[in-house]
C-alpha cells in the first residue's frame, strides 16, 4: 500500500523536458520594440537636427545666432540672431502661464477640496474636453474673436496679430493640463492628513492651502512644468494669432514670432533644401529641443527634491 502511493507520487512528479518557447520570445521582442520606439525616435530627432545645425553653425557663428537681435533669414544677406524669436516665445509663454497657473490651480483646489462628488463628476471630464480641442481652433478663436471683438475695444492700438491674444488663449488651452494633474496629486493626499488638519480647528481653506497643497507639491510642480512645456512647444495658436513678424519687443500688443511659428512657417514655405535659410530651421529646432530638455531635467530634479522633503 505504502509503496504503491510512493510510486504514484513519483509518476505525478515526472517532468517533461524543457523546450524552447518561441512564442514567448516573439511577444517579448514586440513588446520591447514598442517600448523602445520613443527612445529611437528621440535619438533620430536629435541626429537629424544635429547635422544640419552643425552645417548651419559653420556658416553662421554660434554667437551671432545666440546673441543677435535681428532675425531676417529671408533677406538678402539675412541676419540670424535668434533673440527676437526667443523673446516672442518667452513673452507669450509668460502670458499663458499667468493665465493658466492661477486658474488651473484654483480649479484643482475647487475640484479636490470643495466640489461635491456630483459636481466633480461632471466638471472634471468637461474640463478635460477643453484639452481635446484642436489648437488650430483655439488659434482662430484668438484671432477672430478675442482680438477682433474684445481686445481691440480695450486696447485700440493693438495689432491684428498680437502676442496678448495668443498668450491668453494658450493659457486657456493649458488650464486642463494643470488643473487635472494637480487635482490628481491633491486627491492622492491621504485623507488622514485632512482629518488631522480639521481636528486642529482648520477651516477648509486652511486645510487646502496649508496641508493638502504642500503635501501634493511634487505633483503640482510637475503639472506646472508640463503646462509650461506645452506652452513653449505650442505652434498653431501662435502661428495664427501672433503673426509672423520676428520682433524684439516685450509689448504684448504687438505681433511676434516664436521659435515654433518660425519653424512652421519656414518649413511649409518653399525654401531650397540645403540653403542657409533651410538649415536655420534645424538650428532653431535644436535650440527649442535643448530648452525643453533642460526644463524637463530641471523639473525632474525639482519634483524629486520636494518628494524627499515631503514623503
Amino acid at each position: 500500500m505504502a509503496t504503491n502511493t510512493v510510486s504514484e507520487t513519483a509518476e505525478g512528479l515526472s517532468l517533461r523536458q524543457s523546450r524552447p518557447r518561441y512564442g514567448e520570445k516573439i511577444i517579448r521582442f514586440i513588446l520591447a520594440l514598442a517600448a523602445f520606439v520613443s527612445i529611437f525616435t528621440t535619438f533620430g530627432i536629435v541626429i537629424s537636427l544635429l547635422i544640419p545645425s552643425i552645417e548651419f553653425f559653420m556658416e553662421v557663428p554660434i554667437t551671432d545666432f545666440l546673441f543677435g537681435t535681428v532675425w531676417t533669414p529671408l533677406f538678402k544677406n539675412g541676419e540670424f540672431g535668434v533673440i527676437p524669436l526667443l523673446s516672442g516665445t518667452i513673452v507669450i509663454t509668460l502670458i499663458a502661464i499667468a493665465v493658466a497657473i492661477p486658474l488651473g490651480l484654483g480649479a484643482s483646489i475647487y475640484l479636490s477640496e470643495y466640489a461635491s462628488e456630483r459636481v466633480r463628476k461632471v466638471l472634471k471630464p468637461t474640463l478635460e474636453v477643453l484639452a481635446g480641442i484642436p489648437t488650430v481652433v483655439f488659434g482662430f478663436f484668438a484671432l477672430e474673436f478675442l482680438t477682433q471683438a474684445i481686445l481691440i475695444k480695450i486696447f485700440p492700438e493693438i495689432e491684428v496679430f498680437n502676442a496678448l491674444s495668443a498668450g491668453l488663449i494658450m493659457g486657456v488651452m493649458i488650464i486642463p493640463t494643470i488643473a487635472s494633474l494637480s487635482e490628481d496629486a491633491m486627491a492622492a493626499v491621504p485623507s488622514g492628513l485632512r482629518d488631522g488638519a480639521y481636528a486642529l480647528g482648520s477651516s477648509k481653506r486652511q486645510t487646502a492651502i496649508k496641508v493638502v497643497m504642500p503635501a501634493a507639491l511634487s505633483g503640482i510642480v510637475a503639472a506646472f512644468v508640463l503646462g509650461i512645456s506645452r506652452a513653449i512647444g505650442e505652434t498653431m495658436i501662435v502661428t495664427i494669432a501672433a503673426g509672423l513678424q520676428p520682433q524684439l519687443s516685450f509689448n504684448p500688443l504687438m505681433g511676434m514670432q516664436t521659435m515654433t511659428s518660425y519653424i512652421a512657417a519656414a518649413g511649409s514655405g518653399d525654401l531650397a533644401t540645403g540653403s542657409i535659410e533651410y538649415k536655420s530651421i534645424f538650428a532653431v529646432g535644436m535650440l527649442l529641443f535643448l530648452l525643453t530638455f533642460l526644463m524637463n531635467i530641471f523639473s525632474i530634479r525639482l519634483v524629486r527634491r520636494f518628494r524627499q522633503a515631503y514623503q
Binding site: G196, A199, L200, G201, S202, Q206, V211, P214, A309
Partner: protein, 284 residues
C-alpha cells in the same frame, strides 16, 4: 453582583491604579450624551447612546469591530460632519451647550476637543512646523518656540527631537510620530482629547510609552479613547463603555451601548452577560 471569575482575573493586574479614586458616578461631566444616534445617510450606525464623560478622566470605548464606537467618538468634535450624509440625533452637550446647536461653529468645537488618530497623521512638514501648525491656524502670532518646546515636553518627545526640530516629521518612528501628533494636538490647548485606537499601528514598547503619556495627560485633559485592546482599556482608563453591534427587529445591525461604568467594576464584575463574554474573550 458577579464574583470576579478566573477568566476576567487576567485583566485584574492590569487595572489602573487610579481606579480607586474614581467616584462611582460622574459628578462633573465635560460632555453629556443624551440619546445620541449617528446616521450615515439612512443607516443608523449607533443608536440611542446616553453617557457622561467625566472631567480629567480617561473614558475607554471598547467593543467588537463595527459597533460604532469610532463613529461615536467622531461625534464629540463633529468630525462626522466631514462625511457626506452623516448626521446625528439627540444631544451632545459640552458643558451644557449642544455642540450640534444652530449657532455652534464646528471649528470652535474642534479647537476645544482635539483628536489623535489610528494612523499617525503627521503633516509633511518639519517637526517644529507640525506642532506650530495648530496655533498658527488659530491665529497665534509671534514666536512659538516656547510653546513648541512645552508641547513636545508634555508629549515626552522633546529629548528625542530637540536637536532635529527642522527635520521632516516623516523621519520619526511610528511611536514618535504618534507622540508628535499628541504634541500637535495639545498645542491648540484643547480641554478634551479624543484618541481613536492610538496604538493600533505601534509596537508594544511604543504603545507602553503612549499609555504612560495618556495617564499623565489625564491630570490636565479629559481623554476619550477607542481601543480594541482590553488590557489597554484596563490599564489606562477610569471608566469604560462597552458597545456591541446587534441586529434590530428589521435585521439591520446597529451599534448599541451595553454597559458603562468604572473600569475596575466593569472588568471585574460586569453586570451584562454580553460584556462578560466579550472581556473574557468568548466573542468579538
Amino acid at each position: 453582583m458577579n464574583q470576579p471569575n478566573e477568566i476576567t482575573m487576567h485583566l485584574d493586574h492590569a487595572l489602573s491604579a487610579r481606579g480607586a479614586s474614581i467616584p462611582p458616578e460622574t459628578s462633573d461631566p465635560v460632555f453629556t450624551l443624551d440619546n445620541v444616534s449617528v446616521y450615515y445617510s439612512d443607516y443608523e450606525a449607533i443608536r440611542n447612546v446616553t453617557l457622561p464623560i467625566g472631567r480629567n478622566e480617561i473614558t475607554a470605548f471598547i467593543g467588537p469591530s463595527g459597533c460604532g464606537k469610532s463613529t461615536l467618538l467622531r461625534s464629540f468634535n463633529r468630525m462626522n460632519d466631514l462625511i457626506p450624509g452623516a448626521h446625528l440625533k439627540g444631544t451632545v452637550a459640552y458643558h451644557g451647550t449642544d455642540i450640534y446647536g444652530p449657532n455652534v461653529d464646528p471649528i470652535e468645537v474642534r479647537r476645544k476637543v482635539g483628536m489623535v488618530f489610528q494612523k499617525p497623521n503627521v503633516f509633511p512638514k518639519s517637526i517644529y512646523e507640525n506642532v506650530a501648525y495648530g496655533p498658527k491656524v488659530n491665529g497665534t502670532k509671534g514666536n512659538l518656540d516656547d510653546l513648541v518646546e512645552e508641547c513636545l515636553t508634555r508629549a515626552a518627545l522633546w529629548n528625542e527631537v530637540k536637536d532635529d526640530l527642522k527635520k521632516s516629521a516623516y523621519a520619526l518612528s511610528g511611536g514618535q510620530q504618534q507622540r508628535l501628533v499628541i504634541a500637535r494636538c495639545i498645542a491648540v490647548k484643547p480641554e478634551v482629547i479624543l484618541m481613536d485606537e492610538p496604538c493600533a499601528s505601534l509596537d508594544p514598547l511604543a504603545t507602553a510609552k503612549i499609555e504612560d503619556l495618556m495617564v499623565e495627560l489625564a491630570s490636565e485633559y479629559t481623554i476619550i479613547i477607542v481601543t480594541h485592546n482590553m488590557q489597554q482599556a484596563a490599564r489606562v482608563s477610569d471608566r469604560t463603555a462597552f458597545f456591541t453591534a446587534e441586529l434590530d427587529e428589521n435585521e439591520i445591525r446597529h451599534g448599541r451601548l451595553v454597559e458603562f461604568g468604572r473600569t475596575r467594576e466593569l472588568f471585574s464584575s460586569p453586570t451584562d452577560p454580553r460584556t462578560e463574554d466579550y472581556i473574557s474573550g468568548r466573542f468579538g
